[in-house]
Symmetry: C2
Subunit: 552 residues, 2 copies
């Protein structure tokens, strides 16, 4: 007979991770109709870009969204790329199993990391329309078509209607998912904005969006440079915890001693370093098998590694692949057409002691920069992690925090919120610390937030100079205008007073004098306006007289 | 020979959910040193409260935090309760396996839902100090002690040093976890605040916190009423999706027809309702086996269920167990000792069509209400879900949103941020839609946010009346003061003018006249002050003369 205590616990059940994420869809970005649709496009486009990068292909992606039943929020999303394709035997894992991915365990900078994304979309299709996703994968003179769904109870893929063809089909993947409970709109959280921002940070990408209203948006590539292939790097000693060290050591199959294991598996770990540590912690046996390393030994090792007296060469930052200054400039000019752009190129930095990351920041001002709504400009912060746009959860993100902490008044922006300004920030790292599996906000780590702030402020100083230039020039222009206002009258009066010369000649000389003293130095944007005032011909004077008329 | 495409995908690996959460600790609330410690206390206290509630025990919990190495952020957390204990065979699942829980699949209002919490703490101890957690479970004349850790690769518990004893030990659980990379502080995110807020929302709980600095904080219970046992309820038809229906139907083992299945497994589904639906969708066979129900049929069924012409009795709200108006009032008075408290008792509402929830809101004003820092008061929002305090992620939470959307000026609060006010909100539901597994913010569902807003505004109207009373009384008091100011002089002058009576007698009469006209109506807080002005004796007049002196 079961006691009360036993009864309470009698219902213990194990659940698959697929069931867990079905119940916690919002963790994967499936919350809200607009966001759910954007999440699906994000997952597919991200996978396409990662695959193309790894295969060294210039990516060409088409996203088509078809309306099936607007009231039920039912749409068909079709995403097609020219990537390497997915081999038959991996299709199930790639699209029908959670936590089965190529990248989870690698130290390598890619957009996707967890191996959930595309399978999450399959789950979402399944639980909203009951339909499997349709996939066509072309590679190695093969074409594989099938339908994939997830058995949620076991988190395993189930594949049906498999068709294999041989022939010359090129390469690429086409995924078709029928989903419901979503909404297509052109808000700042919608698919259009997502695609636009993806294009902004990926100048090598050609992306086309076919919207349900029949509109076709093509974002052509502005660069033919294929980004370098991501590298798999060894972790830096300063970036690992005791637990990581134990994990690596107990998994070690080749090195037979702790000493060689440290040198082989970690970056910047020389024989000299091993000797240095040996002297510091003589009670740790560096000759023992890595698999026999105990927690307390690993702990001592890590403490010694982190001892400030032990100097380490900073981690190689080869693994960090930024977009590049020129690329960002081209891209912003291409898509935003602002009056002013500045991109800051900072060197890679380290967070948590051993994880390299790099911040690229850009400021676009005037012209098409900023958010436009009903004729009034407002600022916008365009956030990226490894070139993937972050549209949601902006309040909890290190980038938003950094922007908020900056005193924009110092940079000649009186009311930051209402300026025509776009702040562009991209963080590149083999390990981006997201705040959730939805991957929409970067965790507020001190080192990262500070570096973002520095990068933006560096760009802001250039903006300040630009705006000061405009302000100086404006002031100069206004002073000039004020003086010129009296020229006509003065040139009429002076001859009378002095009794010589013709008014028009004197006027010309006076204007020339003023023009020389208050010469225009503006080289961009606003100089059209100022230029008109700076030519000192009769047309000019006509205008000035008009001004005077108005004043009278 | 592997092609490029095959090589790219050759590294597909499956990962356990434990590995996933190790890599995504922040999803479980392990982000930041202070928060990580609070998370651990939260998980243990929550489990204790749930277990006591289910067993009908008045909970008594002691949390002790010992400092081991402050620099390394190493602490020992010991949590002990008088709950029902955990049976031996369930210890491993309860503390050493993720997604194995008693509550994941039940429709039942409890604090814990996912079956991750306590196992997440075991994982955190393990990866920061390498130590298993130590558990002592007493139940049914047994005492079981052991150490538990998780095999992260397989997400399975490993138990060591098991000791079983027979005897009279009472019941309860004691867990001891050694963790690092945490910090104990008294900030609004720290353990102390967490415990205080837990006490606020659980008047039946006696909780003691032994802090590492030796301080002992006891929050005694203010009520001996054991909350009712949580109920397991059938889902309401309006709260399920097509996918849910398919899930339930395909799991069905007893009912042999769809018609009986609907009546048996869902709330408010009468035979008459089945007939009504039959007529609406004649092409769906209600006699077929539930396990053979197809998606398109389930979709039709759900559409018919949700048809506005089909009237449903609202779901039973028995499952929703609020704290209770009296209990909240007692608790707030007990712990905050404010000048004014109002609690709103609203009826349960429904979200997503079929999930009952209930909002309790309270406002405490003046006295110990609000956040105190360096002599200036400021407002605080105390958020709860099923009585568990939500300390983090406040910006994304429906409760914070609701508070923000309220125009507090309408309620006589000029600057909400700087008022000595505590807004208390508790949401009770069998299914609380959290925004993440960290369970610190409630998803911004329209129905929920609106109901929270209504509940707070209802309370705010009472606050407004209270504050209006104070304001009216203040105005009245000031007018009285102004008139009284002239009394002394007037009573001296009048006899001279009229030629009769003694000044003191006239003064008394005048004061009496004024007192009667401007009688004090204040009954709380501020009336001490006003009372002094309202007695009209010589002491009073002395004070008024002083005022006059100052004015001269």
């Amino acid at each position: 007979m079961a006691t009360t205590t036993e009864k309470i616990f009698s219902e213990f059940k194990e659940h698959s991770v697929a069931e867990f994420f079905k119940k916690n869809q919002q963790m994967l970005g499936f919350s809200g109709k607009t966001r759910s649709l954007t999440t699906i496009v994000h997952e597919y486009v991200t996978n396409s870009l990662d695959a193309c990068e790894e295969a060294g292909i210039l990516p060409e992606v088409t996203v088509k969204i078809e309306e099936i039943d607007k009231d039920a929020g039912k749409y068909r999303v079709i995403s097609e790329d020219n990537g390497p394709g997915i081999p038959e035997k991996h299709l199930g894992k790639a699209l029908g199993q959670m936590l089965a991915g190529t990248k989870f365990h690698r130290y390598c900078q890619q957009r996707g990391q967890q191996g959930i994304g595309a399978s999450g979309c399959t789950m979402y299709a399944q639980i909203t329309t009951g339909k499997p996703v349709k996939v066509v994968s072309r590679y190695d003179s093969k074409r594989i078509s099938c339908e994939i769904s997830i058995d949620l109870k076991t988190n395993s893929p189930s594949i049906s209607n498999l068709v294999k063809e041989d022939g010359s089909f090129g390469s690429g993947v086409r995924i078709e998912a029928e989903i419901a409970d979503v909404k297509y709109d052109k808000s700042s959280f919608g698919v259009y904005e997502y695609v636009r921002r993806t294009a902004l940070a990926n100048p090598h990408l050609q992306i086309t969006l076919l919207a349900p209203d029949g509109e076709k948006a093509v974002f052509p590539r502005s660069s033919d440079k294929i980004p370098e292939k991501p590298m798999i790097v060894q972790p830096h000693p300063l970036g690992i915890s005791t637990n990581d060290l134990i994990d690596f050591a107990h998994r070690e199959r080749e090195c037979i001693r702790v000493s060689s294991f440290l040198q082989e598996r970690f970056a910047r770990f020389s024989a000299a370093k091993v000797d240095e540590l040996r002297q510091m912690i003589p009670d740790v046996d560096f000759n023992k098998k890595p698999s026999e390393l105990q927690w307390h030994e690993a702990e001592k090792l890590i403490k010694a590694i982190q001892n400030p007296n032990v100097k380490w060469i900073a981690p190689s930052t080869d693994s960090v692949k930024p977009i590049g200054k020129d690329q960002i400039e081209k891209s912003l000019a291409n898509i935003l057409a602002p009056q002013f752009v500045v991109v800051t190129e900072r060197s890679p930095k380290i967070f948590k002691g051993g994880i390299p990351f790099m911040v690229e920041a850009a400021i676009a001002y005037g012209g098409g920069a900023g958010r436009k709504a009903a004729d009034t400009a407002s600022s916008e912060v365009i956030r990226y992690a490894n070139r993937a746009p972050l549209l949601f959860d902006n309040s909890g993100c290190a980038i938003s925090e950094a922007v908020k902490e900056i005193d924009w008044k110092h940079y000649k922006l009186k009311n930051f919120e209402e300026e025509p300004i776009s702040i562009f920030v991209n963080i590149s790292s083999v390990y981006v610390p997201y705040t959730s599996a939805g991957k929409q906000a970067i965790s507020n780590e001190d080192e990262i937030t500070q570096e973002i702030k520095n990068a933006i402020m560096e760009a802001a100083r250039d903006l300040q100079r630009y705006l000061s230039g405009i302000n100086r020039e404006k002031e100069r222009g206004e002073r000039k205008k004020a003086i010129l206002r009296y020229v006509t009258q003065l040139s009429k009066d002076l001859p009378e007073l002095a009794g010589k010369g013709k008014p028009t000649e004197l006027e010309k000389k006076l204007v020339h004098l003023i023009e020389t003293k208050y010469s225009s130095q503006i080289e961009n944007g606003e100089d059209d306006d100022e230029g008109e005032n700076g030519n000192g011909n009769s047309k000019k004077n006509g205008k000035i007289e008009e001004d005077e008329d108005i004043n009278e």
